[in-house]
Symmetry: C2
Subunit: 300 residues, 2 copies
Amino acid sequence: MNTLGGSGLGAAMDAAAKGVEATLEGLLPKPHGLHGRIHEAMRYATFAGGKRLRPFLVLQCAGLFDVTGTPALRTAAAIEVLHTYSLVHDDLPCMDDDDLRRGRPTTHKAFDEATAVLAGDALLTVAFEILAGAQTHPSAEVRCQLVARLAEAAGCNGMIGGQMIDMVASGSHFGAEEVIELQRLKTGQLFEFSCEAGAILAEAGPEHQGRLRRYARDMGLIFQITDDLLDVTSTAEKTGKAVGKDREHGKATLVSIYGVEGARAEAEKIAARAAAELAPYGAKAAALRDLLPFLLTRDA
Amino acid sequence: MNTLGGSGLGAAMDAAAKGVEATLEGLLPKPHGLHGRIHEAMRYATFAGGKRLRPFLVLQCAGLFDVTGTPALRTAAAIEVLHTYSLVHDDLPCMDDDDLRRGRPTTHKAFDEATAVLAGDALLTVAFEILAGAQTHPSAEVRCQLVARLAEAAGCNGMIGGQMIDMVASGSHFGAEEVIELQRLKTGQLFEFSCEAGAILAEAGPEHQGRLRRYARDMGLIFQITDDLLDVTSTAEKTGKAVGKDREHGKATLVSIYGVEGARAEAEKIAARAAAELAPYGAKAAALRDLLPFLLTRDA
């Protein structure tokens, strides 16, 4: 990750990470009982550092409408445990078979495969428990909307659908359209939820929800393009995970289709479009705006 | 399964199975798009026959308060897909490593391991999407309560916690108390949700919820004891799955602790206690009452 030093974005990302980690500390059970190992594995997977980008998006987008505190933090915690579950299952031997994640052994390496499957299941389950809890929002309608929207974003026509396409994609000749569809589902949907959640919490209406969804979709594309660029150009020491895997598996990415320079140019075009969606929010959207060039130039 | 012929219980179980299957047919996506394989796997796992015992419990318990139709059927569908996910993940090579389920290849055998992991994840996710949907109940408070209660029942201190204990239990010297705790979590919690859901849908209050939870807990114990008895006394042809696995793995069960006759006697004692909880519901609870002797004598 770039050094962000004293910049507004860096401070905002640090604050989001600290806030969501403190919230998760209170929400995830401490190891207890005959089944303490499941709590340990859930915590091991969750408290592993990471950028906490999705919580940052939730808090920033909620902040556009002056929604702060427990509702925003619990929603951020829910998306982060859901994201964590997807990493735990993704890393399994039958999926991506990764031994290393954020520079540490993956959950199935630190524990065992069965525990990793169960810990992922439990993290997915607790995400919905958090959202449905009365402290997340005074309005049960809002809580139900968050549950339904997260389930849609994470489900078989969202993130999981994207994972499925990714598996089918190995060795097939995808063009730009299919690759964009894959990424829109696989990583884009959770970003979309993270940003839309702010508008849902604020009961701001469909116009704002749509605007933040489009920002998130473009931001997700940029995130993915730079991820693919790093897979080609970076090292495992810098990223804390295995690199060069896409090429090794013959996977089509926007980088393999457009080339390194073409993909960079595409990402810059998308970033300009994403920034335009933030216009109505003025200075309140500063960190969301700054995120775009940051993602374009990240090196890990 | 015993032949139930024209009995009230048999007709009620058939009606529940038909109702929930028609509801699931409408709720689960038809295979489409680049990710059609995930829909196929979800449907393969879900439409595999089975007793549909949990949907039966939801419909019967909702019926005690005259709650019928879409709210009861959608809640029944949610618990059934959640139960199905648990079977799909349970059968994985890293878990129970079963090739056969309800007489057919398990999902990871019919598809592959990665698809089975994802299909399980997607079924778990859609369970919450169904419950949060507006058609499940006019009151969002009720829908949130269903989501939160199911997440609790299925989560790390519920069903998944029970799975974890089960894994840790192999080769350890559990007594009756630990085995009962294991089963109360592993299978009991979903039965408890299924029965409580009726009272939640009816907004019947904590007294009824507690009564149905106690009935469900006892019913679950009987179910588990007969499952353990069948593992000792039945054949794979009859049950449609591998038998003799508990003994093979050195797992403590109430049958290994009490012996076959002792376990049968214990189950009968528990059945009497469960029946007593149904007293206030009179004739409306006939099928729930009849379920107890049926479970005691089932042969598959």
